[in-house]
């Protein structure tokens, strides 16, 4: 936000508000080391026997986390760790993406999904996100063929419009926002 501290703060607040409305939790941490601690504490709290991670998420996952496991390994792991490429304040979404199906399964099949994202990658609106998505989706060696916004946990209201969390995907979504300085 052009080095505008109040603007940056407001943006984070907006993101936090929207993400919480969608049923996610947002925790701000000062740096990567703190993010590792936060994810570790999460795994302990969940008494996670299995933690899975995307290759990018491995940096933040507790020791022993499985990176790139088979479907059976990943399915219903207590915790999955991913890294967001972008966060959108307008909607409280994080943008995940990978051409590696195993990496995608982490956020798809774990019971709880934690996404670590840098506050520097927080943009105000979907229009800003569109610019990034366009360049990532363009043909070329760095093309990202699968990406998507994730906003809150998996949900349905198909029965009597009763909100139920965790249908096919994770039952909880936590966002760890590295604010840096």
């Amino acid at each position: 936000m052009h080095g505008d501290l109040t603007g940056a703060r407001a943006l984070i607040e907006r993101f936090r508000q929207r993400a919480s409305q969608a049923g996610a939790t947002v925790e701000s941490v000062p740096d990567a080391a703190a993010a590792i601690n936060t994810v570790g504490a999460m795994a302990r709290r969940l008494e996670a026997a299995r933690v899975t991670s995307t290759p990018e998420g491995a940096e933040f996952a507790p020791p022993g986390a499985l990176v790139g496991g088979s479907l059976a390994d990943v399915a219903d792991a207590e915790l999955g760790v991913s890294v967001g490429r972008l966060a959108v304040a307008e909607t409280g979404s994080v943008l995940l993406g990978s051409n590696d199906p195993q990496a995608r399964m982490v956020g798809m099949l774990a019971r709880t999904h934690v996404v670590v994202v840098n506050a520097a990658a927080l943009v105000p609106s979907l229009d800003d996100a569109a610019a990034t998505i366009r360049s990532l989706a363009r043909s070329g060696p760095d093309q990202l063929r699968y990406m998507g916004f994730v906003t809150g946990p998996s949900r349905t209201a198909d029965i009597e419009r009763v909100l139920t969390i965790g249908v096919q995907g994770p039952r909880a979504l936590h966002v760890v926002l590295i604010e840096g300085n």
């Binding site: 929207r18 409305q21 969608a22 479907l71 399915a75 307008e90 909607t91 409280g92 979404s93 051409n99 590696d100 199906p101 995608r104 399964m105 956020g107 798809m108 099949l109 979907l126 229009d127 996100a129 569109a130 610019a131 998505i133 366009r134 989706a137 363009r138 043909s139 093309q143 990202l144 063929r145 699968y146 990406m147 998507g148 916004f149 994730v150 906003t151 809150g152 946990p153 998996s154 949900r155 349905t156 209201a157 198909d158 029965i159 009597e160 419009r161 009763v162 139920t164 965790g166 249908v167 096919q168 995907g169 994770p170």
Partner: protein, 729 residues
Amino acid sequence: MTGISFGARYRKAVQDIQLRTNLLAFQRGWRQSRDERFADYVGPDGQSGEAEFNTLRRQLAGAKDAVIHDQEAVFARFKAAAESNGAIVHQASNPDDATRYILSLCERAASTILVKSKSMVSEEIFLNHYLEAHGIHAVETDLGEWIVQLRHETPSHMVMPAIHLSRKQVGETFTQATGREVSREDVGEQVGLARTELRKDFLAAHVGMTGANALVAETGTAMIITNEGNEAMVTTLPDVHVVLVGYEKLVATFDDAMTQLRLLPRSATGQHITSYVTFISGPDRAGRELHYVFVDNGRSAMRQDPDFVDALRCIRCAACASVCPPYQVVGGHVFGHIYSGAIGLVNTPFHHGLDFAAGPQSLCVSCNACQTVCPVDIPLPRQILEVRRRVVEASGLSATKRAILFVWARPRLFRALARAVAVLGRPVTRNGFLRLPMPARQRWRTPPAPSVRLARARLGTVVEPAATGPLANGGASGKTVAYFIQCLTDPLAPEQAESAVKLLSACGARVVIPQAQHCCGLPFVDSGDARGARQLARQTIEMLESTTADYIVSAANSCVAAIAEDYPHLFQDEPSWKARAERLRGRVFDLATFLDTVARLPAGALTGPSNEVVTYHPFCQSLNVLHADQAARRLLTEVCGIELRELPEANVCCGFGGSTSFDAPDVARGIVERKLSSIDGTGARLLVTDNPGCILHLRGAAHASGRRVQVRHLAEILASRLAARAPVT
């Protein structure tokens, strides 16, 4: 569902109290969430709520129109980009070709299971039936779709396929399907069952199928939105992914896709955004396949039809069903064919044939609510009337309707009959109602008794400005106003016309009452009889032109809407009549708008004692077409000093719907009961509204149900306060 005749489905649905209850709760919840989500979105100009909704939908409609216009080029761009990303693009020549193609993908992958994420196009082309017949088990993985699949039903709503069912019914369905006892109460348990059961199929299938919400041409990307997370598994776990779509899903750029993303979840489920929004631009690894199957199935015909081309903007949010009053009464298995809601009435003739639209379209009450929430501003009400016109053209009108319209088109006969009923009915007339034995289906309303003296006789040909001097120094003073009575008001509610004329005269206008006037033609428009409508419209135009009055005013807002909005459309192929209709349009006013904006009645001009609890229900077209509701409110609150009790769901129709309340009395009854119970909730003893037809309908239903609420036209309330007023100095 589709194998059962419309009549049978209709009769079953109107008996189903559970259905109506489920859908009422759904519609109320939906409306609240939808409105809140638009209220808390602030656009770049600082605008929010409905104003920003209108900006967004203009943007998206414009973007979609450009693509529809330029479809071949946009498709070519999408295809080139998708193919360069390694996808295979197939243009199915017809629905059979599409289903065969998908079957061959399953066979080649040696997959006996096809896992599906939600796709209305697959419903449209009956893909599941075809695959099952060829030994492939198609598994719906969206919870709602899975429920209706297990029940061998079609979705009753495009976004909430099983919204017609209660949790009890879902529990029974799951128990039957799995052979295990599943809770009838615990939705959480039911959802958990879907997770466990469907997981097996995700792991066994080699082919996954989805639709797409948008196809972004600039990069060859499919945007797919879901809440459950099933789509991610469908597109990632199997080796082959097929995207089944109609051409209308194409958008040019990601910017357009984002505009759609702002509108779609808000309109569909009342969310800022869905849990998952996926962008897929090609197969992710060697050995994986990504196929696009494009289906036309009537879309080209729609594109070439100027009356219907705008319907191709549809983004399948189903807001038109979620807001629709008849839909709440009968559900999507009756109000639609495969596609339900207003859009279903409009696209069914193109996808499945006019016959399948004939029954459902007859239930539309023309309240115009659908267009007010449509995120691409499709002129659905007008299109439904055009479907109705085509149905009538193809199959003719019913004998009863022909007889009624025969009389209606003949002013003398019409009035003679009204008089006959008035005279003969006198012995059974009590308080303005005819106390006649009614057939069972009509017993919920007491019919109004016609008056022996018509409004035109009571008013005479000219009413001079009030001798007391004008009520307001506004633009009505010294002007001539031609008053349009309305055919229905003339015998059935003359007091409304008298009140309106009294008010105009009090504002200093000289009021002329053309004695040659009859019917504006609206009952013919409503019935799909365009020829009859044009005939009466021509007579009305000629009659009004001959008055040379400065203004034309009526308290019959339905006629004002017909003259202002339907006439130019009726004469779209007759330029000279169209021009005359458009010239007329500038002079025609509904009473409330006239008193507010032309006569400019000042605050406090009609204050008087008021100790009743009063509530206001705007007639649908006053609200949605004429936008006269604010004027009516101002007249009641500021001019009369009445404190209004807010009516919940004031923007929902009362169920009159012109001829619909006679064609489908059960629907009219269902809707009016919803309205009356809202009125009960306010504790009001007086309901003020602004259209004669609705007033007669509401009075009749209130009377038959033993309610004591008075239903009055705005004109009557205002006029009743004239006696006590002081002239402006």
